[in-house]
Symmetry: C2
């Protein structure tokens, strides 16, 4: 087992994490679109993406394990590998949340269409952007970009809080559409959870890159020299 082969493995690990993040973003984007356009037929794709994310999660864990077993990794490489394992877990849950949204879409599609005072598409765009930026921050070991993800989380939290208030008010005026209201509330919370997962990844970037100069380890193809 040479150090070159080890570094090829590390690169593959990062590449697979990026692939998983791409799948998570697409699952999320499809789920939100299915909700906004009332198209339950888009949900099949969400379930498919989630299935691929789950398989990737196990493969990434296994690859991380193989890399750790291969040779005595340097401290910076170790931090990177553990950060990948953590981010990998978060992305798997983003997939779960996208599936939860898709399940609400299936529920809601059987009900009359109604106008609700909740901006799900906006929350969806923000959450997707957060996942994307968190991964970018991760790959480049960019703590400034990671910090920005934490700030975006406040916006999603505020939208989620607004959604609660608006739905509560709507329910009192129009209890006959309570099921659509509950579905919208749940979707808003799913998106808030997804934003939390992006936040976890961003926090991990800050944690794992702190105390040691490992930005290089995160940020380049050749991980250590």
């Amino acid at each position: 087992m040479t150090r070159i082969r080890f570094h090829e493995g590390l690169d593959e690990l990062k590449q697979r994490l990026i692939t998983t993040a791409g799948l998570a973003e697409r699952a999320l984007e499809r789920a939100v679109r299915a909700y906004a356009e009332r198209k339950p037929e888009l949900c099949a794709e969400v379930f498919e993406y989630e299935d691929r994310i789950n398989r990737n999660e196990r493969e990434i864990d296994q690859l991380a394990l193989d890399l750790l077993a291969m040779q005595q990794p340097m401290a910076t490489d170790l931090r990177l590998i553990l950060a990948v394992i953590k981010a990998n877990g978060d992305l798997e849950r983003v997939g779960d949340q996208a599936v939860n949204i898709a399940q609400r879409v299936v529920d809601i599609a059987a009900l009359p269409a109604v106008e609700l005072p909740v901006d799900i598409p906006r929350m969806g765009v923000l959450a997707t952007e957060m996942i994307h930026r968190a991964l970018d921050a991760f790959i480049h070991g960019d703590t400034v970009a990671a910090q920005r993800v934490l700030e975006m989380d406040d916006d999603v939290d505020a939208l989620n809080h607004d959604a609660f208030i608006a739905i509560n008010r709507k329910l009192q005026q129009a209890p006959f559409i309570s099921q659509q209201c509950l579905d919208a509330l749940i979707v808003a919370r799913n998106l808030e959870r997804i934003a939390d997962h992006a936040t976890n990844i961003a926090e991990d970037v800050i944690f794992w890159t702190s105390g040691e100069d490992v930005r290089h380890a995160f940020g380049s193809g050749k991980v250590t020299e």
Copy 2:
């Protein structure tokens, strides 16, 4: 760095995970009690536990990192360390969910008390029991016990589904208590998420112990010989 010291570190790692799980269980138990008894004063404890869980999470990650850096671990030890990192992340989220429940309690305590057709205490007992059993399965590398946790998850999912239907019906009869209904729905979903985290831990027990005879590594004080 001797192998004996390494094994002492592994034991400490497991011990700390058990401590974190205990904190998560107590946070959850307090949050559910605060809800059932309408006692927002119990929530301060939940926030305190969550804070301790978060600090433990970082310490466990750091210890895991130190152990990996200490020497070339055996394959079984590696699997154990990675499983701890995963379970650690799940427990941290259980703490988050307990805090979410506590926040709903604070919200609901300012509103008139109402009877709702949702058995939150039962869901709480089940979710707490699942966390406890998942950790037990983890510590003993017991895949049969882990399998039982997966089955309990179906019960919590069913209760969560029932909660949605019951709250939806209640809302149509009594829209003036919509806020209490929404809070109860959210608490039910928080508990369902906690059960999912227990399920993740149980699934990890099955994954990490599969393919290799590492039950001994999970199940005893002396991890490998």
